[in-house]
């Protein structure tokens, strides 16, 4: 048991930090202030990610067959920590790295792998995730978007909502219902080019940055059957794998911990870090960040040994959401003016990320239910 970084891991982190220092433009703070889903940041990612790929820092943990270097899971997380803490210059492409690419590698046809993965590994692919619908958010198995088989094609009709990155995405990882089976059994995944006729995207102004939330409408969208990922009815088992990756894919605790340090420095500058109440609150938020970090690291450690933990991702997700809330509440309580000025854009950026965490990728209450049933082995609630 050892909780310290190895020298090799420290060197790797330093390498990533050097890369960021070298490659992020002087106006990065301004450019990134509207979040990873914004048009500015998405466009930047299409310049930045190819450079990352060139330096071997985009998909280091992927198999060499798909452009990776088979590096340990820890390096993927060190990379993710530095990227997220820097404001995520990979934009939406972090999803490719964390879960869309690995999901295609595991479940995709040879044609799908060859068609999509090289673009992801080159840092040139923007995807969005078409999961939630107006009447199917937490209860995702109730989704209604339907794909009807028509010869060698499927014709898709329906709508998605709260779709991140949809306005800029070239492809959508789409869930749609096929056949007559109800619930989870009737869902399939489609890899849909967003340029396909019949797709309309509308942005929704939000609390969480520009370009993060959209409505996406599918009207008689025709895709070939080869666009289906896996078999009909297999979607649930595939996305369970994908979401376990996504739930801990973003090292949110790292940004929270760094923003907390920035807040403490600001309070020191203002001569206010001499108050026992503020000390205790800062300590509480810091402890929450570190607890979240360790619960995520436990999963990374298991992955590094070839194990794939399941419900542990839900425990980590709750801890991360609590840590982010603790940090943003600390800032709002003691530095509220800084959320309305340009002096510390990272406070607002972190706040905008923090209020998403307990809702996206399965709401906190969904995670708590999973923990109750799978970690504590409590009986399912009677219907």
């Amino acid at each position: 048991m050892d909780f310290n970084w190895s020298e090799e891991q420290r060197d790797y982190r330093a390498r990533v930090q050097d890369f960021l220092k070298r490659e992020l433009p002087s106006n990065w703070g301004e450019l990134s202030r509207h979040g990873p889903g914004s048009r500015e940041q998405t466009e930047f990612s299409l310049e930045f990610c190819p450079k990352l790929a060139e330096a071997g820092l985009l998909v280091p943990h992927w198999p060499s067959e798909w452009g990776g270097a088979e590096r340990p899971a820890w390096e993927h997380f060190i990379l993710g920590e530095e990227m997220w803490a820097a404001g995520e210059p990979r934009g939406a492409q972090y999803m490719n790295v964390n879960w869309i690419g690995p999901t295609l590698m595991r479940f995709g046809s040879e044609e799908q792998k060859r068609r999509y993965i090289p673009q992801m590994a080159a840092g040139k692919a923007i995807w969005c995730q078409g999961f939630s619908e107006p009447n199917a958010g937490s209860d995702l198995a109730k989704l209604r978007t339907r794909a009807v088989r028509d010869g060698d094609d499927y014709v898709i009709n329906g709508s998605k909502i709260w779709t991140s990155y949809a306005a800029m995405a070239e492809h959508c990882f789409l869930l749609a219902r096929t056949g007559d089976a109800v619930g989870k059994a009737g869902i399939a995944i489609f890899l849909v080019p967003m340029s396909t006729p019949g797709i309309e995207v509308r942005g929704i102004p939000s609390l969480i940055g520009h370009g993060d939330i959209h409505e996406t409408f599918f009207t008689d969208v025709r895709v070939p059957a080869s666009a289906r990922l896996g078999e009909e009815g297999e979607a649930w088992s595939i996305i369970s794998y994908s979401l376990a990756n996504e739930r801990v894919g973003i090292p949110r605790y790292e940004l929270a911990a760094r923003v907390l340090t920035s807040m403490v420095s600001e309070l020191k500058e203002r001569g206010r870090f001499d108050d026992s109440v503020i000390h205790a609150r800062a300590g509480s938020a810091s402890a929450a960040c570190e607890a979240a970090r360790l619960l995520v690291y436990r999963i990374v450690d298991a992955r590094s040994r070839g194990e794939n933990l399941g419900v542990e991702a839900s425990l980590a997700r709750i801890a991360v959401a609590e840590a982010e809330q603790a940090v943003t509440n600390f800032g709002l309580d003691f530095l509220s003016d800084a959320f309305s000025s340009d002096t510390h854009p990272e406070y607002l950026a972190h706040h905008e990320r923090a209020i998403v965490t307990s809702i996206a990728a399965g709401a906190a209450e969904i995670q708590l239910g999973l923990i109750a049933r799978q970690w504590l082995d409590l009986p399912r609630e009677a219907s």
Binding site: F3, S265, G283, S286, A287, L294, Y297
Partner: protein
Amino acid sequence: MRFVPNEDQAAFLTVLDQMIEPHRSWHVSPDWSRHDWSTELDGALEASGFYDCAAEESLGLPAAAIMTYRLASLPVLVESAASSMVRALFASDLPRPVAVIDGRVDSITPYLPVARSVIRIGNDGVYSAVLPEGAVKEVESIFAYPMGVLATDGLDWQHVEADSAVIRDAWRVGLAAEMAGCLKGGLDAVVTHVRDRHQFGRPLGSFQSIQHRLAGASVKIEGAYWLALRAAQRLGTAEPALALGYVQESSTQIVYDLHQFMGAMGLTLEHPLHRWTYRTRLMRSFLGGASMNLGEGATARWRAA
């Protein structure tokens, strides 16, 4: 970074688990005592050298912290935190069990009635003394420990020659591990209860209002466990204070929920829930309590920031 025990730690924990297995079931104390002190288990672990594990390079304080956590989750009581975290590293000649006095020398202190030595952590340093016969007066208490107070001011106090801040940190880690273990023991008991007990025609544990709060408790306890283990490797940093503060802060809601879901059964001395929760309720105040420890952790973390 490696979250699984090394070979020696794994072997150590396997034998530990074999030794504690017979003590997982619980019994009502004949005299309705609030605690169930196990001379048998405590003595067996001492005789086998378990409490000295922190001094072994391949085992270290993380092994001692895991042992303390696992022992604290049992319904029987042994003394581990002080012996395996503080005594083993800084005062290995002291006879055990060991009681730790935090603050005033006349404090009512857990383990004193069964202790053979005492360590006092004060602002002026850390001191130890062997307890002669009659040095302790037992005190009746709601807290699920043998509680006592020193009955003499004539102890032969010896200064412990080590950095008192580091000793305090080791004690913090011991307390954090013991608190996390107590909460885990209580949680396991309550989870068993809500699986088995039916009301309104279904198990209590199928109600979402109960599931979510117990799931939330699990997250906190897991966080507390790993914070304690990492802090065990990082004495002299902010981490021991943050680890103790975290579990102290979290314990209030968890203890409330555990008793809430155990209902009236948890109010009796027939069920052992109180053995875990009332130890937790006492430790919540140790070394100044959550606010003090979290505050000290924060000042240590950002001293130079």
